[in-house]
């Protein structure tokens, strides 16, 4: 380098050094912010987004943290996340065990959202998917223990669709029925009423974000009975009648149980196929 250029070279060096320093400092800060953000990427299990919230990755880009949903919630169940809470600072959520969503028919929180982070195409609150209830603890659920608690079923706003009570025999007593609260994901809105109402010390049924709660069958799985119905009949060889090895003179018929000898001839005038004398539920020859 020639001597004339020395001052400008020094200035340029200074400029480059300053620029590099700023870029590195700010870049490091940016890296920190980015890493910090990745921690808040997955919604923690206790935090449920308001109805109509976009999938989490889109939500954190669309929500501008204004809090209008919080303001327009008539039951004040929504909070904006504080910096120490493990989700994006300033984004709305509720904790079902504290205050569940009341599922207002006009969905004011969604209407209030100015950005569409809460999807305005959601018009029917029963179609919302805030999360999914899961009966997490079979050991503490009172219905599993044989009681008729049924509280989660009773408080469910979509009762008998989102939560049904499925009867199973009680193997402990050998003669009672367990009424198992069973959540159906196509109807559960994730409002959290069941979790709030669960009488056990720690809720035995909990609402989780959908990504945590919902399983998925492998894409190649087929349900035989569904396929059979679609095809109108068995897809493999024709159904064989099952052969029972019975004591002599005894006969077993599905739905009727054991009987002796030949089936009684249906009484004249009885409806075809109907076995008179049996309760309706036990009629028919299919399980």
């Amino acid at each position: 380098m020639d001597n004339e250029n020395k001052p400008s070279t020094a200035a340029r060096r200074q400029f480059l050094a300053d620029t590099a320093r700023m870029a590195c400092g700010v870049g490091l800060l940016g890296l920190g912010v980015g890493l910090y953000a990745t921690h808040a990427r997955a919604l923690p299990p206790a935090a449920i987004r308001p109805p109509g919230a976009l999938p989490e990755a889109d939500f954190s880009a669309a929500c501008i943290r204004c809090g209008l949903c919080v303001r327009d919630c008539p039951f004040n169940i929504l909070h904006l996340a504080k910096p120490e809470e493990p989700l994006s600072t300033g984004t709305p959520y509720f904790v079902a065990r504290q205050l569940p969503c009341e599922m207002c028919e006009d969905i004011p929180c969604v209407k209030a959202c100015p950005t569409g982070a809460l999807d305005h195409s959601l018009k029917d609150i029963n179609k919302s998917k805030m999360g999914l209830a899961v009966l997490v603890d079979h050991e503490t659920c009172l219905n599993f223990l044989g009681l008729r608690c049924d509280v989660c079923h009773r408080v469910c706003p979509v009762i008998d669709k989102a939560i049904t009570l499925v009867p199973l025999s009680n193997p402990r007593t050998g003669k009672h029925t367990l009424f198992i609260p069973t959540v159906h994901s196509d109807h559960c809105t994730g409002c959290g009423k069941c979790e709030k109402a669960c009488p056990t010390e720690v809720a035995s049924i909990k609402v989780f974000p959908l990504y945590m709660a919902k399983g998925q069958l492998s894409s190649h799985y087929r349900l035989g009975w569904v396929e059979k119905e679609k095809a109108g009949g068995s897809l493999v060889a024709p159904d064989l009648e099952h052969r029972y090895n019975m004591p002599e003179g005894m006969k077993y018929e599905s739905g009727k149980g054991l009987s002796s000898g030949a089936p009684p001839a249906p009484a004249p005038g009885a409806p075809p196929g109907g076995a008179s004398g049996l309760p309706k539920a036990l009629q028919g020859n299919k399980l």
């Binding site: 910090y36 953000a37 880009a61 300033g90």
Partner: protein, 298 residues
């Protein structure tokens, strides 16, 4: 400390009276507290004039106001907001094009109350010395927040942004946000003079870009009356913006066109010679000075 230094603005108080020497400061604090109160009377007293916060607010269910900076981040994170938000953004952009980009910083932003207090205390405690970070660092910060939004697909700066954290925190609950605000306060007090607002804040950097074109500016109609008391430099949070216009460096017209002037008006207050006045960026004429000899060109 040996002798108590004369506080900046002392001459102005003698020349104009205390009230006139604090006029813009009082108006500015009224604006800052007033705007904050508009947001707070809702949650405090159930008087819902304004809902939301500085990111987006809805006044009387009629007027949407949107921070363009957060929308820019949202767009870079590949989300297109709806019409109401975009309307609010246009209103805010037009407003700041009218009153000056960084007027946001000095007339609206709540963090300014904090950092102004830190500076006041810094002067009162006689704390000298300041870390050196160049003022354009704020543009790197701005770029960093935008790149972070684009790379992560999320408005990540909102997780740390002290500006929205303070405003949202005061309205919706601060949580541990006080620690971040305390950090900003202590940084400004002990580490760096005008550190956050004057060097680092990306929100201010964004509004300074709006300020490059904004109409309302501090003009210097009587710049020839300047007696070099330096009071304006002492009170200005961005003192580098004054010199070109005051000293007519390279033929600069008598108006502060530098985008980082926050239009706080403190220079107008503390000048005993009434050099400064609010005007527009088209104020290019210097008033003839009577009775004061023209300073010889240096």
């Amino acid at each position: 400390m040996s002798a108590t230094p004369v506080r900046p603005g002392a001459d102005a108080i003698v020349a104009k009276g205390w009230l006139a020497a604090h006029k813009w400061l009082i108006l500015r604090r009224s604006s800052q507290f007033g705007i904050l109160m508009l947001f707070l009377v809702g949650p405090w007293f159930g008087l819902w004039i304004v809902k939301g916060n500085l990111n987006f607010s809805y006044t009387l269910n009629f007027l949407p106001l949107t921070d363009p900076y957060i929308i820019l981040q949202s767009l870079l994170a590949r989300q297109i907001p709806e019409k109401l938000v975009l309307t609010g953004m246009v209103i805010v952009l037009l407003l700041y094009l009218l009153v000056g980009g960084r007027s946001y910083c000095s007339w609206v932003c709540p963090v300014n109350l904090l950092t102004d207090f830190a500076y006041w205390l810094r002067v009162r405690l006689g704390l000298k010395g300041s870390a050196h970070i160049s003022r354009p660092t704020r543009y790197w910060m701005l770029a960093m927040t935008l790149v972070a939004a684009a790379v992560t697909g999320s408005i990540v700066w909102e997780m740390l942004n002290p500006v929205s954290m303070m405003h949202r925190g005061l309205i919706f609950g601060l949580g541990l946000g006080w620690a971040v605000l305390l950090a900003v306060f202590l940084f400004d007090l002990f580490v760096m003079r005008h550190g956050w607002c004057g060097h680092l804040c990306p929100v201010g950097a964004f509004y300074s870009l709006v300020g490059k074109l904004s109409l309302t500016r501090v003009a210097l109609p009587a710049r020839d009356a300047c007696n070099d008391c330096m009071d304006c430099f002492a009170v200005c949070p961005e003192p580098q913006v004054i010199r070109p216009a005051l000293k007519a460096i390279a033929g600069t017209p008598p108006v502060i066109l530098e985008a980082n002037c926050t239009n706080c008006g403190r220079c107008i207050d503390v000048c005993s010679k009434n050099v400064f006045a609010f005007g527009t960026r088209f104020n290019t004429t210097v008033a003839p000075v009577t009775g004061v000899p023209q300073a010889a060109p240096k």
